[in-house]
Symmetry: C2
Subunit: 206 residues, 2 copies
């Protein structure tokens, strides 16, 4: 499974197979212990500032309340034909102090060639606006929150420079309402690591 162009997919194998485990346990009892080798940027993942900045917070330094139970708004970008998502997409929405999820529908292309290029992304100006509004986290259902063809990566630089975590490769944002969502994207606390796969989800008020 390739998540990002140029990065290898994870390698999974047995560390302890069920067969080999039988000698360690009682009659009829067996376990399997897997081993994984993976790059940080695998699956749906969360970036901490350390991914971009050597002096930035790593996964172990992220406060829990920057990752969990976040009051959240979902922005719908229509039709799948928009690439550059501008400041104006956020200006009429109550983003201040909230997490912001950007629903583009690009996840429809996951695991196809099309997913890996020509992605929807935020403009540098949009990122600056979101930071000016003290947003807590920004997520998107795209291969990159930056234009994958722009080596300046202004959105990563601006958001992570302001301690705003980023979630990429989200999917099924259509299942969330636009408002009244509590969002969770909580990586393991791995010191010296900048990015980690997450099972991201929203809890909806009922």
């Amino acid at each position: 499974m390739v998540t990002y162009p140029g990065l290898p997919g994870p390698i999974i194998c047995d560390y302890l197979s069920r067969e080999a485990s039988r000698g360690r346990y009682g009659p009829g009892v067996e376990f399997q212990i897997g081993k994984i080798e993976m790059v940080a940027n695998t699956g749906t993942y969360l970036d901490s500032p350390f991914h971009r900045y050597a002096g930035g917070k790593d996964l172990s330094a992220l406060p829990l309340d920057s990752l969990a139970n976040l009051d959240t708004v979902v922005i719908r970008i229509g039709g799948g034909s928009v690439r550059a998502i501008p400041r104006a997409a956020f200006q009429d929405v109550p983003v201040q102090g909230r997490a912001v999820l950007v629903h583009t529908g690009w996840d429809a292309h996951w695991r196809t060639e099309r997913y890996l290029s020509g992605n929807p992304f935020l403009t540098a100006d949009a990122a600056e606006y979101l930071v000016s509004q003290d947003v807590r986290l920004v997520g998107i259902d795209s291969v990159n929150i930056d234009d994958i063809d722009d080596p300046a990566r202004p959105v990563h630089s601006t958001l992570l420079g302001a301690d705003v975590p980023i979630v990429e490769h989200m999917c099924r944002l259509n299942l969330l309402p636009d408002r009244d969502v509590r969002f969770f994207a909580v990586p393991a606390k791995v010191a010296g690591f900048g990015t980690w796969p997450v099972r991201a989800f929203g809890v909806v008020s009922t």
Copy 2:
């Protein structure tokens, strides 16, 4: 960092170093992408039925509502001197249909030799009682929810056999109240994998 006796700690390195990344990005822009090699049972982790049973649910098959936003009770096992935690520890507590976290204080020994043997654990009878009460998940701040010296592993067998996920190596359960906690321990959806590190936490009603 060794989590469990006999299992290797994780190996972390650069996949793409900041220095090497500079050629890929614009002036002044750099990223670090880490690589990790780890066994599934690393850090605080959640076991799915697949860890014990070849036909059991793996991480990717666990319903989100078996892992997140769980109505939870915390059981306090006093003094750190009790090893075998019996059915009676749960019988006067409203465990039915809830997640149950067992606070023993054993996390005080984390990263010492003492942590790795002589652990507090649930009895087979306690596990059967919890399943009879339709508990949703069981967590403990110990190196193993079973007696590490009992190769029959009855608690893993009973709980995972009833689709009840297990969280081990928890810490700081003293920070949670006994009741009115919503508990979260959400692993990445890794197919063919049985166990995964989690940043487990409770949301407390205020």
